[in-house]
Every structure is written in C-alpha cells, then in structure tokens.
Amino acid sequence: MTIREFLSDRLGKITGQLCCTVSAALFLLATGTSSGVIVLLLLFLLLISITTQAAEYLKCRRRLSELDVLMQGLDQKYLFSECAPPPRTVYEQKLFDLMRCSGRAMIGAVSDAQASMQEYREYIESWVHEIKTPLTAAKLTCRHLEPDSRRKFSAELAQIEAHVERALYYARVKSPEQDCIIRQTDLADIVSQAVGNHRTLLIQSQMKIETGDLDFTVYTDRKWAVFMLGQLLQNASRYRNNDSPSILLTATRCGRQVRLTVSDNGIGIPAHELPRVFDRGFTGSNGRTRGGSTGIGLYLCRKLAALLEIDLQISSEEQKGTAVTLTFPARQAAETLQDCKTNPY
C-alpha cells in the first residue's frame, strides 16, 4: 500500500476532520481568542493528526505485508482464510467471517471436484482393463477367419487398441506418480517395441521403416516412452505420403543427452499450424481433411515428455515431411526426477 493509496482511502475522513478544525478555529476567533493561540492550537492539532495517520499507515502496511508473505508461502492459495491471523477489530472480524465462509465453500467444492476426478480416473483405468479382456478374446478368435478378413479385422482391432491406450494414458497423465518408474533402458528396445505394437498399422500403410544408430542407453520410463513413440508412428502412418512412405528412426548423443529423431516423408504440417499441434484437441487442416484425428496423441506426448523431462521438438515442411526429436535427459537429471516421484517400492 502506497502513501497515496492510503491517503486517497482516507480522503473523506481527513476532509471531515479539516472542516471540523476550520469551523472550530473560526468559532474561537469569533469568541475572541487571540489569533496567536489559535495558530498554536492548529499547529498542535496538525502534529497530532499527522502522527496518528502515520502510525496507522505503518500498521496497515505491516499487516498487509504479513498477509502477503503468508499468501506467497501457501501452496494451495484457496486455504488462505484458514491460515490468516485472527482479526483485531470488529469490522475486520466481520469481513474475516465472510471470507472464511466463502473459503470453506471453496474448499468443499475443490475437494468434491478432486474426489470425482479421482473416481473418474479410476473408472477409466478399470474400464480400460476390462475392455482388454474381450479385445484379447477377439484377437484370439479372429485367427479362425480367412486371411483377408482376418487382416481387416486385425487392423480394426489395432485401431480400437490404440484408442483405448490413449484413454488410459489420458487418465494417467493426471496423476503420473502412480505409474512412473525411471530405469536404465535400451533405446533400441523402446523403438522395436513401439514399432512392434503398431506393426499391423505400419504394414498396412506399406510404411518403410529405416533405423539408424539406436545403440544408446537412456534413463526413462519404458512404457511411457513406447507409448509416445507409438503416437508418433501412428501420426506418420496417418499423414503419410502415398508414394513410398517411410519413417527414419535414428539417435545421436549430444553432450550427456541422447536425442532420438523420428522423421517421415509424409504430407507435413502447415507452418502456421505447427505451434499448435501439441494443444489438446487441435486437429489442424490435415486432420480435418483426412478424418479420424482426435487431437489427443501429441497433447499426451507433450504432457508425458514434460513429466519425463524429455525435450520434445517438432519441425515440418509441407509435402516434404515431419521430424520430431525427443531429447532424453542425462543420467543425473533422470535420477533427480526419480527422487521426486513416489516410487511405490
């Protein structure tokens, strides 16, 4: 609170005091008090009023800064009214009671929302696990179909699987600490697992997979990395160039980090849409014209990458292709991350 703010707040009161003093002085002058005495008296009154106002200003400022510090120290700001120091005046008490009442309502609403989010997340997770049983049964049963329909059927099942997987990770990304285990992992393993998971789609798209040097060790959560890579492979197949589509997966060491590049020769992304591809629900002109795009895959990639401290970058040129780089953290960074996450064991 600045002095100007304080004074403008008190303008009415000070003006009132001034009017009273002036009329009292006029009255005294009229009743024959000598002007010297009145001047002395006025000076005295001015001194008193300046002192009290200054004291009040300082008190006000101290209290506000105390509350400010308290607020800054709070992790959950809406708990402020629960932690604020007790009020000193009746007026403050009334305001405080109102604030606390509103704060309590807020706390209730927040914890209700959190609980229902948690419940929903748990429901999604259990739903995903439930749906996997009939999916497995369907996959096993479709062996009996004749080859052509089996292939079509498998492709559809693979799509269902990909959607289900995204739903699961969408639920997980909200409370990641329950599922993240950072371990030393071979990059080549991550790549071959991701390619293996999406084999049906990639073969069907007649995608040519080229792999460069992948002989690196990274510190990350294998499942999450496989999932992220899977999203990139799916995108590359979806937005492929129909004439000999290919994906190149290769890695380089830069300093103590390992950088994996996934580049395709697909239809690319218009430059003005590129900054928004990681936004939730953003499908872009390619997604709209080709259909079937959800705008969730890359959004989840960005979220998971942030949690794993992977730097995710995308570059693209229309009709030339798209390249996504994932820079895995150096060992130390990964270890500190592991410390932050609650490992269940």
């Binding site: 696990h129 049983t133 096993l140 699987e161 071959s192 007649q206 997979i209």
Partner: protein
C-alpha cells in the same frame, strides 16, 4: 509333451488359448475352479503356468508369490494390468515373464517357447531340414549334398519360416509379419528382392524350383 496350465477366468480366452496351444503341440490343462489352485498345480505338475492376475477368488500376484515359495515352476503372468509398477511387482515376485493383454498370438507363443527353453536348459533346434535341404540357424547357412551357401539375415528368416511350414502355402503378408516380429522392417518390394536372391542361391545349390509361387496366395516350399 510339455504341459501348460492356463489360469484365466474369461471362458472364451481360456477356450481359444487351449485350442491355440494344443495346435502348437503342447498339453493343456485349464483351471475352471479357482478355489484350490495350488493343489491343482501339484496334482497335474505342469511345465509352465499362464497366470491371469484378475481372478475371482484370489489375486494372481498373491498366488504367484505362494507358488514361488515352494517351487521353481516357470510362470508367465498374462494380464490386462499394464502399469510399470504392476510389471515390476510381478517380476519381483518371481514370475518369469510378464505379458500384457491384448497380446499378439505369435509374440505370446514366442515368449512361452523362450521361457520353456530357459527352464529346460535345452537350446533351440539349430538345424532345420526338409527334403535334404539343411539350414543352420546359428551359422546362417543353407546346405544341400555337402555344398553350402551363406544367407543374409532376411533370407535366413524367410527360409526358416518356409521350412517350418513346409508344404503349406505361406502368404506374403504372413512372411512380412514374421520378419517384423524379428525387427526386420521389410516392405513388399524388399520381400520380392529377398525371395529372388534366395531362389538364386537355392538354384546354385541344385534346387531350382524349391520355392514355388502360388499365384494370388503366396509361397510354398
């Protein structure tokens, strides 16, 4: 014959899995009563256990830990719980492999085979032989009547697959599938090139029409 015990509560999966494994030449026992599983295991003494985690009576992980206490029976956990934590937990309880649903049939079979081989300590058959044609998987060579030719990785996998399915028609799509499972990401054109090279090598050995093309269906050895 190696015996595999299936502990799975979904009837359709149980049925299909039994069928699949029987076709692969394993003896199969499916558990339908989930109350006294340890006893059933003792009674039928299987070589491998395929264990689902979400069982009606008892949690699969507890069961796994219980079995591990008294025996070294190989256990593969097959489950829809796929978090890293679950997998870590399962492996730390002593299961030999952890496969998540929905699995691919060839991958499941390969991992069953690997666990059984590991537990028996028997190396995989190295030499495949059909009609006098011999393929050594470890040396990567094909030989006939004392003459031999070296094969590339792709050619070896293709020929080995055709030989294990000798007489059957193997479609191009199946071949591509098999190669992808072995991290050979081959496309249609490359497959044609590889088949042509393979035929040339077999011709040099004196078996010119070894791999027949069945128009519109695939290849046949």
């Amino acid at each position: 014959m190696q015996k595999i015990m299936i502990i799975e509560d979904d009837p359709l999966i149980r049925e299909e899995l039994s069928l699949l494994l029987e076709n692969e030449g394993y003896g199969v026992v499916s558990v339908t009563d989930f109350t006294d599983i340890p006893e059933q295991i003792r009674d039928c003494a299987p070589d491998l256990l395929l264990l689902d985690l979400g069982l009606p009576e008892q949690d699969g992980l507890t069961l796994c830990a219980g079995i591990r206490k008294s025996s070294a029976l190989p256990i593969i956990i097959v489950t829809s719980r796929d978090s890293s934590a679950d997998e870590f937990h399962g492996l730390s309880l002593g299961c030999d492999d952890y496969i998540t649903k929905p699995y691919d049939v060839p991958i499941l079979l390969a991992r069953i085979k690997a666990v059984l081989r590991r537990s028996a300590g028997v190396p995989d058959a190295d030499v495949l032989a059909v009609n006098g044609l011999q393929v050594s998987l470890t040396r990567g060579t094909v030989s006939l009547n004392g003459r031999s030719e070296e094969l590339t990785r792709n050619e070896l996998k293709i020929l080995a697959h055709l030989m294990t399915h000798a007489g059957e028609i193997v479609s191009r799509a199946d071949l591509i599938d098999v190669l992808w499972e072995n991290q050979i990401y081959i496309d249609d054109n490359t497959l044609s090139v590889n088949i042509t090279r393979l035929r040339t090598k077999l011709k040099d050995l004196g078996m010119p029409d070894c791999i027949r093309t069945r128009r519109g269906m695939g290849y046949q050895l």
